[in-house]
Amino acid sequence: MTAADGAQRQIHLVAHFPGVNSTTVWSDPAAGSQIDFASFRHFAQTAERGLFDYVFLAEGLRVREHAGKIHDLDVAGRPATLAIITAMAAVTERIGVVGTLSSTFNEPVELARQLASIDHLSGGRVGWNVVTSSDAFHGGNFRRGGYLPYPERYERAEEFVRVAKHLWDSWADDALVADARRGRFADPDRIARVAHQGKHFAVDTTPTVPRSPQGYPVIVQAGDSPAGRDFAAANAEVIFTRHSEYAEGRAFYADVQERLAAAGRSSDSLLIMPGATFIVGDTDAEARDLSREVAHAQISPQTALAWLEAIWGRDLSDIDLDGPLPADEPEETVLRQGQTSTAIDRRAHAARLRERAEAEGLSAREVVIAETAQHTFVGSAETVADEINRYVQGRASDGFVLVPHLVPTGLDVFVDRVVPILQERGVYRTAYESPANPRPTLRSVLGLPAPQPPASLDLAVA
């Protein structure tokens, strides 16, 4: 593929603040606080130095548990999403801030107001990763309690986003007059009352926040089922996906593009960004060694054991992790709570693991490492840059959500060494601003079309 320079696809990068899972190494002497604001400031400012599109935070609304007790092996404890992305925006100038926020455990009136507030406070740099949250365990911290049956979660998400957009559109662009001479602060005829009565929400209000710089936050989505993909095709502007393997990435990309067309949207109105880890060394060989070392730090013997216990549904403390996987079949008991689980059919999962262990000659712990701590991009800065570029030029993605393994300095090596190479290759921006766009919003940095303000302000009854 030898596209002329001008025809090269541009790479988008997102900096994912390391999360509360085994990817984040806490045992390294360089690992800092997961909660001090200094860590978030360093991370956001480093990402901005690297001209990333946005910094990103996942969200989990309950501390994870294993076998009925607080899960104590992984990094735990994180700030509240809305407040911390606001603070990160306050110590940066151009980079976007995107938070993961549940459509199940929030209400449209409040969340729409908060996101619109951040869009104002950040000068148009906020985005919302709409997730539907998984289970009743999280519901234990919220008024509604319990959870929604699976199909209803996307139904609620859909209605949530629809109502939120009405709320964000309620003030026309010219509703804020602010003319002291004429004594007019606002034009009441340009501020709509939003009345909505639906299956999940009954909302009747006149919002307090004027239309924000971006109109509304960039909508991101992170669910993988057909329903999740359709929701994304209808509503999202960015998809955060797990499909980071090349062939899988291309298939996912094509699938989403089809759904996008079916939803009547243009192919450039949605970006696809898989999550990815990376290990950069001076040479490819050095990076491979480092990757092995990091993987062992990520998957301690205790972490490997807990991971297997979550699949086998029982205490496995009697097994030898340097020996084979347990021979017996998994039980259905749910040991791990508060973490999205991918294993639905445990017997099949166990069989697949055994097969892999046998084929590759892996011990129990080594299987866990192979399954969970394979780093997406491993190599010298050149190798990593070229690999990322290959994905993007090959339409396996539009870029990546990079998840470093260290807080708060894990991104530094990427920004210092890989970004300059991407820039040299002509596939990555060298500034946020351009003469045509001196004060870019997050949406314009992403190269996405701006939403059209509503033609009519008659928003009553949706």
Binding site: A80, N106, E110, F142, R143, W171, F201, Q302
Partner: protein
């Protein structure tokens, strides 16, 4: 304690209450760019002015409906400032750009999610390195009930609203303590990041909501943020006595009635079992209007006289409500504060170079470091979770 003794060993805290373009509905007309009230720079500049002047804290008003539109369907108005941003998020942005002053947003507890409220406040405390507080607000407005659409306005009786607010305050404090300070151990020999015995479920069960906990946010620098309430009514005054660290007394028509109110709150708070509930004596802060209709005629000396009278009546602090921003805030900084300092009424000093580390809001308010209630109340090795509802009896046993 005699008045004289009190004068010598206590000084008043000084706060500023921010709202829109000021408390005067016409104040927006004086702003060079009235639309700036929807920007972070506007609020940052104001708070920095207050910080430089040595003000102890700012509060920021909030409401879920447009100014003056508390009934369902009340339309927007054209001639007064309309609209506002979320106060907690606004002060979070400001906290990231300031380093000394306390930041106290109004956060409504009616309709909102207690877990989100509690964790957002903790996050503000982390971002500000211990300068956060909370002005708890109840919303009886029918407009807010309609906006959320989950409860009919008729169910929002004063008793229900107050009971819920008390529950939210209670559960917030429990969540703030649900991680002990040293819960993160990073013990490589056992592979454990956390000592799980130092995290606690709160297992709160109230009439309107239940919360399992623990918080997703580790204990914040202050642990317990100062909780404040405006005593608009006898009921909110009683609530403040039950749950708050600081009560704001709204401006009265006459100084005499203000002074009388201070005395009454003082007596009521002293008679309440606050110590049993783990609360220090209630700090009484009196609101004064500055500039505008009622405050305009007062010079610094006259206002300082009134502040002195409030102190003699038992006030621990004053909170100033500038009618017009930034003008009246500048007057506070340049005229009023020097007068108060000159009389020894306040210690709040203008900023002198680098003050490291910054004082926490608790320190500024004279509140002792907050002990960790689970740690104090239970054997760490018990490990199991505490039930908030039985906390009082545990404290007795400890």
């Amino acid at each position: 304690m005699s008045d004289i003794a009190k004068l010598h060993d206590a000084v008043l805290t000084v706060g500023v209450a921010l709202d829109g373009a000021g408390w005067d509905p016409d104040a927006w007309r004086e702003l060079p760019d009235p639309a700036a009230v929807f920007t972070a720079d506007y609020w940052t500049d104001l708070v920095r002015t207050a910080e430089l002047a040595g003000i102890d804290y700012v509060t920021l008003e909030d409401d879920l409906h447009l100014q003056g539109a508390s009934e369902v369907g009340d339309p927007a108005r054209s001639d007064s400032l309309q609209g506002r941003l979320d106060a907690l998020l606004t002060l979070t942005a400001v906290a990231a750009r300031t380093d000394q002053i306390g930041v106290v947003p109004v956060v409504t507890v009616t309709h909102t999610e207690p877990f989100h409220v509690a964790t957002a406040l903790q996050t503000l405390d982390h971002v500000s390195l211990g300068r956060a507080g909370w002005q708890l607000r109840i919303s009886p407005a029918p407009a807010d009930a309609a906006a959320f659409g989950r409860r009919s306005a008729e169910t929002l009786t004063p008793e229900a609203l107050l009971g819920e607010a008390e529950d939210v305050a209670e559960v917030a404090r429990a969540l703030w303590d649900s991680w002990e300070d040293d819960a993160v151990i990073r013990d490589t020999s056992t592979g454990r990041f956390l000592d799980r015995d130092r995290l606690h479920h709160v297992n709160f069960v109230g009439d309107l909501f239940s919360i399992a906990g623990p918080s997703i946010v580790p204990r914040s620098p202050q642990g317990q943020l100062p909780v404040t309430l405006l005593a608009e009514t006898a009921e909110t005054e009683a609530l403040a006595i039950r749950v708050a660290d600081v009560v704001f007394i709204p401006p009265a028509d006459t100084l005499a009635s203000s002074l009388e109110r201070i005395g009454a709150v003082h007596a009521a708070a002293a008679a309440a079992p606050r110590e049993e509930r783990g609360l220090e004596p209630l700090r009484i802060v009196v609101d004064f209007e500055v500039g505008g209709e009622r405050g305009v005629s007062r010079g610094p000396a006259e206002l300082a006289d009134q502040v002195a009278a409030a102190q003699r009546a038992g006030a621990d602090g004053v909170r100033l409500r500038p009618a017009r921003l930034p003008r009246d805030l500048e007057w506070v900084a340049e005229a009023l504060l020097p007068e108060l300092r000159h009389r020894g009424l306040t210690a709040s000093a203008p900023r002198s170079g680098v003050e490291t580390p910054a004082r926490t809001l608790r320190q500024r308010l004279g509140l002792a470091a907050a002990p960790h209630r689970f740690a104090a109340a239970s054997e760490p090795s018990a490990g199991d979770d505490q039930d908030v509802q039985t906390r009082d009896s545990q404290e007795v046993n400890a």
